[in-house]
Symmetry: D2
Subunit: 426 residues, 4 copies
């Protein structure tokens, strides 16, 4: 097993788990990462080690003594359906099953840890009751980096032994830094990350919470764009969906909705002009069918849009707004061609990310939170909880942040998009 997928632990698990359950997960149960027969045979022949992942689940022996354990939760970055469900699940699992001492919630992201003037709030069964029915995060969030030393100081002062960080790419990097610094200083605080990315673009994470809810809401906007496109002669409906680096929402919503004619994502470049260009295809479609629905991920077409390399508070390069740009390009093209079109542009971003989790995401968030707690109580740290090959796994933060997951343009999802849209551009 390559070292990369080993999960750090804080020490020996000496306490009996108080969780009332008939079957515990064996301490080091692992499962195969790559399960294709061809790959396995190749690795067996070459003697190369196979990657396995540690299975998540309740352990019989735990590291922390519940009676004296204080935990905290923080939520970072943009909103995403299901954050409150995860907060609720972690809180209830810690207090009702493990019966630990207390759970605190830091306000407004990492800033609320670093800035000790921002008081944390106690999380109790009462205070998390009913929060799952609400979108957003009851703790609030923020973007941008904070001083690692300041955060560690606060955690130590507050005598926190477990910190759950619900956040995306940037927060995972912060989590990794905190973990490494703690490890160097030999401070026994467990750092457990719960991956939050509405774009579903995290490495080794086959499904991120909120993604399905987001896709469902995107489908509603697509249906509106369809109605608008049919409502006028040469009607063109454009829906911009989230997805800075991954077209996962765009692709899924396109397949679910049946009404999209062009799906444009960061992973699959296209050209506007000439043979095989978007303009030619749009004109052909208007000629044949009289209306068009386009879904575009916000990070699409970045090679075509001139921009200046600004960055946001989290250090992400500021992408040009692909949706607005596309609307302008199409408008200009048809104006020049003297073809009268009616373009309706829909940008549902905040409506998609601020809604409550749907029941399937609610279930997923509940289990994710429970597994995060099991991992923490068993003394794991520097890790992310996630799902892979249908199992829940412990993943080293390092592995998750090393690169981004994207839509494979030769894979089955994109192939379904091509079949659903019939789009033929390059």
């Amino acid at each position: 097993m390559p070292d990369d997928f080993k999960i750090p632990t804080l020490g020996e698990s000496r306490y009996d788990s108080p969780v009332r359950i008939s079957t515990f997960m064996p301490e080091n149960d692992r499962f195969l990462f790559d399960i294709s027969e061809t790959s396995i045979l190749k690795k067996i022949q070459s003697g190369e080690p196979m990657v396995t992942l540690e299975r998540a689940g309740p352990r019989e022996k735990i590291f922390f003594n519940p009676e004296s354990t204080r935990a905290a939760i923080v939520t970072c970055g943009g909103l995403c359906p299901g954050i409150n469900n995860v907060i609720r699940s972690i809180t209830l699992e810690l207090l009702m099953q493990y019966k630990i001492l207390s759970v605190a919630g830091y306000r407004y992201g990492l800033k609320g840890i670093a800035d000790s003037s921002i008081a944390s709030v106690p999380l109790t069964p009462g205070s998390v009751s009913g929060i799952s029915e609400k979108g957003g995060s009851i703790l609030g969030s923020s973007r941008g980096p904070q001083k690692i030393s300041g955060m560690i100081k606060r955690l130590v002062e507050d005598r926190i032994q477990i910190l759950f960080i619900i956040g995306g790419d940037g927060s995972m990097r912060a989590a990794e830094f905190i973990y490494e610094e703690l490890a160097k200083s030999k401070i026994s605080i467990a750092i457990i990350a719960i991956p939050k990315t509405i774009d579903n673009d995290l490495n080794f994470i086959s499904k991120s919470f909120g993604f399905q809810t987001a896709c469902s809401k995107a489908v509603e906007s697509i249906q509106c764009a369809h109605a608008e496109s049919l409502g006028y002669e040469n009607g063109i409906g454009i829906v911009k969906v989230m997805g800075r680096h991954s077209g996962a929402i765009a692709a899924s919503a396109t397949i679910s909705s049946h009404e999209v004619n062009f799906c444009l994502i960061p992973e699959v470049p296209f050209v506007l002009q000439g043979r095989g260009g978007l303009f030619e295809a749009l004109e052909k479609r208007l000629h044949e069918r009289g209306h068009i629905v386009i879904v575009i991920a916000e990070g699409a077409a970045q090679d075509l849009i001139p921009h200046d390399g600004e960055t946001d508070p989290s250090g992400n390069i500021k992408l040009a707004d692909a949706g607005i740009w596309l609307r302008e390009q199409i408008d200009a093209y048809f104006k020049k061609k003297k073809i009268q079109v009616t373009i309706k542009y829909i940008d549902p971003s905040y409506i998609i990310r601020s809604v409550p989790a749907n029941p399937d995401d609610a279930l997923f968030c509940t289990i994710l939170g429970q597994y995060a707690v099991h991992a923490a109580m068993a003394g794991r740290t520097g890790m992310v909880i996630g799902q892979w090959n249908h199992f829940f796994a412990h993943l080293p933060i390092k592995a998750v942040i090393q690169e981004r997951k994207t839509v494979n343009r030769n894979g089955s999802i994109w192939s379904s998009v091509i079949q659903a849209t019939g789009q033929n551009i390059s």
Copy 2:
């Protein structure tokens, strides 16, 4: 009875209604427009005539001979939930109850009448089946005026005897011109308008179809803005809703949602700066509660926004975009004050107007369509079908277009808004 509310008729009703019904509406049943005791007593004393409206409903004797009657439907202006329900109801009532010869649908608004190269589509029980579950208009729409003479020529050529115009303010004016021109030329074509205004701003029309559905969808966006505003320190969520001249959607959605702190509409001016200004109130609220939700109608604050008087194809003055403007003003104010805020701006316009009608609007559209047909078959023309004081009425187009209905700032709806938001600006 003042002449203004007399409904023109094409002639004597000589045919028996084929509608299978036990009780018909008496030929000239009317009801009181102003039902306040004080007003009535005043009019009785002064001898001033009381305004009454003709009640809608199936008449026992009808003007048109069903066997030889051809009708047509056209949909104009912006989309609105329920258009397809009205099309369906009119079509089924004409074909199934009155058993007329045929119903045609003109495509893409008045343009599709004026331009004889655009073929109309036959409307049948089959072709309207299932259309109510879809947003938009199966006939398509367009904006802007067309030559009256060209439209009349087309109607005559197509041997249309009844034209149903589903449209807003602008289309009603066109309908009135067509009616007057037909009357002058003594051509017996009935012109029946079905008022479509998502803003609910038509005179003498207490409730327009689609309005409720629109408000329901606006509430969803407000809930998202609320989640966003709570999601960040000093979070400000702004939702822009439709309403060029009337804040009806803004006001209703505000009362329904419970989460709005400021509701800004065209009918109630406000100032930004100084005592009683919006900025002061926003700052106070952030200080006390840490988050704000604002709903603004698109036509609000026009006296504060500099603009150039452009007009759209329908001849409406192009309003400045109040939402974008407000976001910029607030952003600038807090930047200057060095107070860090996070503003999230939601513009759900097309998502609101392109959804299918909800069940209550579906019922309302069905009945509206049935009454429009009853009026037409009874030989009424130059009229609008609408609801007033809980009854369905025949209203002269002239009366409806003479001025716009607005939110009364001394009335009960605005009073409920003030109580719901607690807003205290002037």
Copy 3:
């Protein structure tokens, strides 16, 4: 004005209203009950007085001194969408606008007043926050009569000056008894009823809260019944909806849904056997179209079903279950006829009445609660708050309970049902 519609008052209004509003409702503003021109002329000729209703709204002078006023709310009978919205609106209006001393909620209906061992709960802005998003009643409910004297004793002991009773037919009768007893004993407690009837069957109340939400949910069940009926050869889907004495939900849901072939309600008797009977019509439809959707109100066909006259705790005669009975009758008929049919029976009752109010009902409940408070603070008592001819009115409880509103089989709603279903039975 006939005495019947005069609203009792507790005494002179001497206090200035603290409500921050620009225009108050004139003290005795009234509006016409019957607004048909024909009726009015007839009454003018005969000298018969016209019925007018007192308009609801905030009065400039009020009876109760806010500083020392204690109010209470109780919810009775079956659940209905919007109860929590009304509780919330009354509470906020009393505390935030009128700034009265306190609001208490009695638990579990009238039983919770009569039984002084059941503690009431304080209602505050905090405790009513978010309750509108939940179905049911946060106070709980119960059925059946309680001793009037016991209830009055409790109210006096608790020093309650205003009691808001949210309830149906039975609770209104109780409210009237309490009011009369208080009047006799000259105790100045205002009794204000908020009519709750999911069946929309109260006299002089054109629209009851929750009714629209109920109809929307019923439509969902009808769509399922339609899918089921199409899913099998000779498929028959039956949906039973609420409506003991009124087919209002059945009729409205039928018109909204477009898929119902037979709508059976208490107001319109029918026969099963022979010419014009239901069986003949069902067989004909199966022969022609292969599937049937039937909607039946629970109180339909009571003349056809043998039953024993039992009563429920509220004293209502126990109706036979029309839905189950119909399923059995149809099943037996086709078995006898050796025609294979597949019957799917859907009884969505609790799913319909326990959901949260939709945005339109939310708005209606908010305003209803505000008007109830205005009436109470102005010293009105023995009255019901309701909507008639589009205005909100004060109605004497006596008038409301004297008879039940039903679907008029010669009216427009039933006529729309006939046209929507095409049903031809008698």
Copy 4:
């Protein structure tokens, strides 16, 4: 590789796939069934072969010549969300991507194949447009066995080369018989089953279509039961959900909803009386919290309910109705104990299974249909298309029907149920 998981083929794939795609699935790509490291090591040591499954996906060479290929689809058994989506996906994939000759739909299940007097319907892009928005099956369904020979005769007469059977356990057995009979007779008709089980109880099928939608709808009913239980003193809400042999829906809906106190499923027996019995636990909960929500799968408690072993047309043993039984038991218990309770019973079965697929199921059905077509065109037969370990796979029908998948009472889902409900019965 054990023989059991080998997929039968009709012969050599000699035609080039016309599917416009960049990357085809290698002909015999397989993946591991059991991916736990411990199991793999054990098998390597013991020399026991590892089970692998054939991956689904488009093959570069196909068996059928599209130009002359006729396919048919049949839908069997109970309704389930998503059937129409699968019909649509198969039809479009066959006609638009593989451009085969024709697709027919047999009406009303296997009966519509066996009975040649029931005409099939042609399926075209036009006829499947918009069907995904509707629940049910546009082809209709039926239950019960049909003569294999009759069905094969019909298929041969109709010159069908591929038959897609969308159905559950019983239909799979029929599919296996048809396949075996065809193999014996050396008739080259591909038999491809698409597993339809709203209960998610098929072996080797980790997720069946419609299951998520069903769970979402079940959650709505649970929320209503919760409102009802809170609405009365000692309120008890009981929701019966589908699940004859598997409590999958009950368990998932319980975890998603957060409001369930007892979840009763077939896999986990319980007792009513005595220590650790349900009654004791109910009484305790009423005493402590005053209300209870119970979810019970229809097939639960069969060991406790006396019944007579009747069977339905498909040969399934008729289960006693666990929901009604439970209601009666609880009612009797508390009556005997003289504790007044209010029980509300909700049976949402048809409402759950007849709704349209939600967006996530829509996506899943689309891909499932596409993969079914790829398998068929590549000459596979006697197989089921399904998902396992996150991959789509070809599974021998035989393997799928050999036993039923159930909720593992020692597994993570049931463990989450226990933690979510806190239930402590045995």
